[in-house]
């Protein structure tokens, strides 16, 4: 919203009204569709070679958009809260690291999450770069900032966890 890093994540096409009317007329059930595909796994396997060089699409279709953002914000915050708990849990497995190590560990955590999800999607499902670059920036910057906070907070006298003995 503020900086607009994700403005280029999704493109615009002037043909959207025509495409939406075809989708609405033909797709009866909400969900994700791979096009072209086949009804059975065997047919899908057989058609892979014949698809080489031809157009393809992945379509996520919803019959009704919900403009309500409140629940999304609440869930988003709760997930972030849980993520930071996981991060602290991970980083302090062997005792509390120093500030610099908490920051680099936090960035490594964000980078690992991006690689495992968005970049793997780029490799295997051809998710375009313009869709995932802002997520990379988010993963590094958000977790670096969180790491700076945690590095200071966890190392305050009285907050440090004792190292794990053998």
């Amino acid at each position: 919203m503020g900086i607009g890093l994700h403005n280029n994540s999704m493109k615009y096409t002037p043909a959207q009204d025509n495409i939406m009317s075809v989708l609405s007329a033909n797709i009866k059930e909400d969900g994700a569709y791979m096009i072209p595909s086949a009804a059975t796994a065997k047919e899908r396997q057989d058609m892979m070679k014949s698809m080489e060089g031809k157009p393809w699409a992945s379509v996520i279709y919803h019959s009704s958009m919900s403009g309500d953002m409140t629940m999304r914000f609440i869930r988003g915050f709760l997930v972030n809260f849980f993520l930071v708990i996981s991060l602290i849990y991970m980083l302090t497995r062997g005792g509390t690291p120093i500030l610099r190590r908490v920051v680099s560990g936090s960035v490594a955590f964000g980078l690992a999450a991006w690689l495992w999800t968005f970049y793997m999607g780029h490799i295997w499902a051809d998710l375009p770069w313009h869709m995932i670059t802002a997520d990379l920036i988010d993963s590094i910057v958000a977790w670096a900032l969180c790491g700076i906070w945690l590095g200071w907070w966890l190392n305050r006298p009285g907050n440090r966890a004792a190292p794990v003995s053998a």
């Binding site: 892979m48 080489e52 991970m90 497995r93 005792g95 991006w114």
Partner: protein
Amino acid sequence: MKKWIIGSLVGAIIVFAWQALSWMMLDLHKAEHKYTPAQDQIMSTLNAANLDDGTYVMPNSAPDATREQQEKVWKNNDGKPWAMVVYGKAASADMVTPMIWGFVIDLLLVILMISILVRGGLPSFIGIFTGCIAVGVFSFLWGPYMMHNWYQVPWSSISAHLYDAIIAWGLCGLWLGWWLRRPVNP
């Protein structure tokens, strides 16, 4: 150093093997995408729209729209159908390059995992195992679940990614928990 190299290599093989099992043998991801008999009509409409490769959300506001115009489009679309379309002009059936890249990324991930885990000293076996699972769950929540939350990507499309995240990193955690704590490592 040798401990890290062998630990990462074997860990990457474990994670990669689980991914292959999950996608090919066990077919856990079969519900990720549905089939529609109307695919030919939809595909010909997309082709006729002269789209560039990329991801489109529709209805969307034009790139030069003001903030007010964007908000108006958003409000007008409440309760109406919408779609997110990833379109490619030419599919590639080449699996070798993605497999090589996939393994390299798995290797990098296990190196990162070890680096994160030993930040404050070498954890216990249980600490390494649960830490690995925590990273798996973290990745799932930060990626697929956030897409589910903000873009309503269907649960059927992301649930297998949760299994992959827990099982692949759980298995890797068992290996690393044993390997990194061996009394005498080469």
